[in-house]
């Protein structure tokens, strides 16, 4: 727990990505200057390499001590126990032991003991009450390629990715969102960078957030909305409208433990099927998933590329583990980023029977099947669009069945066609492997670790990690067919596994764990070995859920 002086003194010695708990109360001008800071390090971004928790320790602990009736001077001391309580929460350690220790240690000074105990609990509860996110992500910096590095959290990388995509496309960035853990930090980060022309709109709710983003998209901006958990449910209807309007829109879901409010401060991967099917009617859209904190940058850019090129809402899946975790990131060469061309409509695209030239908003590009994007402002391109079914081409309201069927299949075909515009499945395979471990999202590190361990024992195991979840890469079916066993580890009850089974009729083996944390390498290794030794023939083809009541997993 640091004040400015301490921070100044120790920050250099801290490994990048370390967790820093800061006593904000101590960060007034005076102390800052004393410590030799010009700008406030909490806001000038110089701590972006660390997971910083800002906590009003002094105020809270003085409160506590007051209640316990000890002298202000002693209060100072309690601060450390507050910090200890907070850390216990962050790393989900029980505080009972510590409490006992305090009771013995301060048996002589009941008041101080009381104050310290209260401070300990206050710290622990603060983590819960203020929804501080637990257990941040740490990849042991393996051998790093040469280059310039920075430590980023997934949420920061996502925010930066959006800013980069906006500048690549020349589109003004508009974020319409409503705060929710663990997505809020993207709003916080973006709202700092107005010099990029970024507009952040804190809406009255999630529906308004995505609605405003869609309105901005209609106006020719890069419309983005961010949320988590219950918030994504509320966006379903407007996503459906965006599918029907065929406008670019980015929906970012930072998954957390569900269902309902669930475990707001723990991670999970259980929104995949919701992202696929969570809208009424046939309402397909592309899904992209980030796999590491720094990969959030690239994933955000890719999601924007697809949204703009195909005039479609895109869902980007991240999760609490990526969002709050940090890792060293080798800064990309901006020239390597894909070009993103809004290609706004500029002129009439259809000739009426009587020869007059008109603009039809639903004439498609033969190749991408995308429709023209014609923001207001251009004379002659005036047009009306809406959520009712539209006539193929003219875009006028159309009620006839055959047109509806054609439009329904066209919307589906447009999204399916993206399969040919994304890279083939990347498989890490020392040839001859019989088992493929395939995952998506934040389990990347854990799966890699498990695969390495298995290989270290001399087993041949292949790994693939999907970034595009809808559509799948064109070659995925063939890839899966090459292996005798396909193991699918997920922090849910087997959602990707279901998609693969339905799509490719492959008898995948679903390895699931739903404990608010990623897999441990050991567990992953065990699951892999079990496949190789062929000991997994449970009817359900599911590992770790043999006992239907789930009691077994304890």
């Amino acid at each position: 727990a640091m004040n400015p002086a301490a921070l100044k003194a120790n920050i250099e010695s801290l490994p990048k990505g370390a967790t820093v708990i800061v006593n904000v109360d101590a960060f007034e001008e005076r102390n800052l200057n004393k410590a030799g800071y010009e700008a406030n390090p909490l806001s000038d971004g110089s701590l972006s390499a660390y997971t910083v928790y800002e906590v009003p320790m002094t105020s809270i602990t003085t409160e506590v001590s007051k209640e316990a009736g000890v002298k202000p001077r002693d209060a100072e001391r309690s601060k450390n126990f507050f910090a200890l309580g907070l850390i216990s929460w962050l790393y989900t350690r029980p505080i009972e032991a510590t409490a006992e220790w305090i009771e013995q240690k301060y048996a002589g000074k009941p008041l101080v003991m009381e104050a310290n105990l209260r401070a300990l609990k206050a710290g622990f509860h603060f983590g819960e009450t203020a929804e501080l996110f637990e257990s941040a992500y740490q990849v042991k910096p393996a051998v790093l390629e040469p280059g310039e590095y920075v430590n980023v959290t997934g949420n920061t990388a996502t925010a930066w990715g959006l800013i980069a995509a906006a500048s690549l496309s020349g589109l003004p960035l508009f974020l319409g969102t409503y705060p929710i853990t663990p997505a809020s930090d993207i709003l916080h980060e973006l709202s700092k960078h107005k010099q990029f022309g970024v507009r952040t709109f804190q809406a009255e709710d999630e529906i308004s957030g995505i609605g405003a983003a869609l309105g901005a998209a209609f106006g020719g901006a890069l419309g983005v909305t961010t949320t988590s958990g219950p918030g994504i449910d509320l966006k379903s209807e407007t996503m459906g409208l965006a599918v029907s309007l065929e406008l670019p829109l980015l929906i970012i879901d930072i998954q957390r433990g569900g269902p309902s409010t669930g475990l707001p401060t723990k991670t999970e991967q259980a929104d995949l099927l919701h992202a696929m099917y969570g809208r009424h009617g046939e309402s397909p859209l592309p899904i992209v998933a980030a796999k590491t904190p720094s990969h959030c940058f690239e994933a955000a850019v890719e999601a924007v590329r697809l949204a703009v090129k195909y005039r479609t809402p895109v869902i980007l899946l991240s999760d609490g583990y990526l969002a709050n975790g940090t890792e060293p990131w080798r800064l990309p060469d901006l020239d390597d980023l894909p070009a993103i061309d809004p290609a706004f409509a500029t002129e009439a695209n259809h000739v009426e029977a009587d020869g007059t030239e008109v603009f039809w908003p639903y004439i498609r590009d033969d190749q991408t099947l995308a429709r023209p994007w014609a923001p207001p402002g251009v004379p002659g391109l005036e047009h009306r669009i809406g959520g009712l079914e539209k006539a193929d081409g003219s875009g006028n309201v159309a009620y006839d069945g055959p047109n509806h069927e054609r439009m329904t299949r066209l919307r589906a075909a447009k999204i399916a066609g993206i399969a040919h515009d994304i890279p083939p499945t990347e498989v890490d395979d020392e040839d001859g492997a019989e088992v493929l471990v395939i995952g998506w999202g934040s389990t990347y590190g854990a799966i890699a670790a498990g695969v390495q361990r298995a290989r270290a024992r001399g087993y041949r195991v292949a790994q693939a990690h999907l970034v595009h979840l809808n559509p799948f890469p064109a070659d995925l079916g063939d890839v899966l067919a090459r292996y005798r066993r396909v193991l699918v580890p997920e922090v849910n009850l087997g959602q990707l596994s279901r998609l693969l089974r339905a799509e490719y009729l492959v008898d995948t083996i679903s390895f699931t764990q739903v404990q608010g944390i990623p897999f441990r390498a050991a567990a992953m290794e065990a699951a892999i070995l079990q496949q190789i030794d062929g000991t997994a023939e449970s009817h359900s083809r599911e590992v770790a859920s043999a006992d239907p009541t789930g009691k077994g997993i304890l």
């Binding site: 390499a49 990029f196 106006g219 020719g220």
Partner: protein, 348 residues
């Protein structure tokens, strides 16, 4: 990169237009006799007078009979989803200050499912003009009562009569910090055009309630006050700076009592100087609110016209200002620099 920059305002002078230029090629599909027709006519006839461009005009709507409006305007437009038009308009208005944005909505669309977006758009003072077609019924879904229907209304969903106190749309808007609040009705094109003109001229969120007759599911809802023969006695025209009076000979008026109550009186009884003088620009919405309560429904003398017209900072411009200031101070954004804003280190 802060704004989409293809609105040619400065380039060409605004072309002269007629109503026809503002009418789309789509056949109007409201029921014959529906009040929506006269509102559409009023808007289409007003447009040429406003000196605005079709390509810079957008009509947004939710769902409902009223919400079909955008299809009939030869401008940019979106028929979105039920109740959400104000939210969608907020995103558009905030990123495109160059546009003229109209939101057309019904009493169910904006006061039932869309109530929250409406009050927040008003509070934020987003630069949009909201036309609420209040027919006190759900027209499109074939006649259920709405949040503005009178108590005890018998409808498809309330065969024994409805139980709910209706909203007074103006009171709600004023309670939600609206800066421009007005009321007009579908039987008086001149008054509609004048009211819309005022609403359009106001910078920020303008809210206009339009009494609209649904001759199929709620015929005659406003007949008692908007009917030609009743108007002079039942409609109280509000005129800024003027004593509030009405009646064929202006024989009736409105007073504000010391106890804080507002009442309709015979001018003869109290004397002209006792009358309340209308003030659209009063900083506090208190007076406008009092006037919004004068009538308990379209069967008592009811004020029409502009209740409140007060300027407040407009949301979109304020956001643009923050962007300009930040750019001013820091220079335009540089992505490469952003990625290095944290502490970087090099591996070689």
């Amino acid at each position: 990169m802060t704004d989409v920059a293809h609105a040619p305002e400065d380039a060409v002078p605004v072309p002269l237009t007629t109503r026809k230029d503002w009418s789309s090629d789509q056949e109007v599909r409201w029921c014959p006799g529906c009040g929506d027709y006269s509102i559409l006519a009023a808007v289409q006839m007003l447009m040429p007078e406003l000196g605005v461009r079709r390509e810079s005009t957008v009509f947004l709507s939710g769902i409902g009979c009223a919400a079909r409006f955008p299809y009939y305007m030869n401008t940019y437009g979106m028929h979105s989803i039920h109740g959400r038009a104000p939210a969608i308009a907020t995103g558009l208005a905030t990123t495109r200050p160059d546009l003229d944005i109209w939101v057309v909505t019904g009493d169910g669309d904006s006061l039932s499912i869309g109530g929250n977006h409406l009050i927040h758009a008003l509070r934020r003072n987003v630069n949009i003009t909201i036309l609420l077609f209040n027919n006190q019924i759900y027209g499109l879904t074939k006649g259920q009562y709405s949040p503005t229907s009178e108590v005890a209304k018998v409808t498809k969903s309330t065969p024994f009569g409805s139980l709910e106190q209706p909203f007074n749309p103006l009171s709600l808007a004023l309670g939600a910090e609206a800066g421009f609040v007005a009321r007009t009705h579908d039987m008086d094109r001149k008054h509609m055009m004048e009211t819309f003109r005022r609403a359009h001229a106001h910078k920020g969120a303008s809210f206009v309630e339009i009494y609209q007759n649904c001759n199929v599911f709620n015929d005659g809802a406003f007949e008692q006050i908007t009917g030609k023969e009743h108007r002079s006695d039942m409609l109280i025209p509000l005129v800024h700076g003027e004593p509030i009076r009405f009646g064929a000979e202006g024989q009736r008026g409105v007073v504000n009592h010391r106890d804080g109550s507002v009442e309709v009186v015979e001018v003869a009884d109290v004397g002209e100087e006792a009358l309340l003088v209308h003030d659209e620009h009063r900083d506090s919405p208190g007076l406008a609110f009092q006037l919004s309560r004068l009538s308990r429904g379209p069967h008592e003398p009811t004020p029409i016209g502009v209740f409140r017209d007060v300027d407040r900072p407009e949301y979109g411009s304020e956001m643009a200002r923050q962007i300009d200031e930040a750019t001013e101070r820091r220079g335009p954004g540089d992505v490469a620099a952003l990625l290095r804003s944290g502490s970087t280190w090099t591996v070689d």
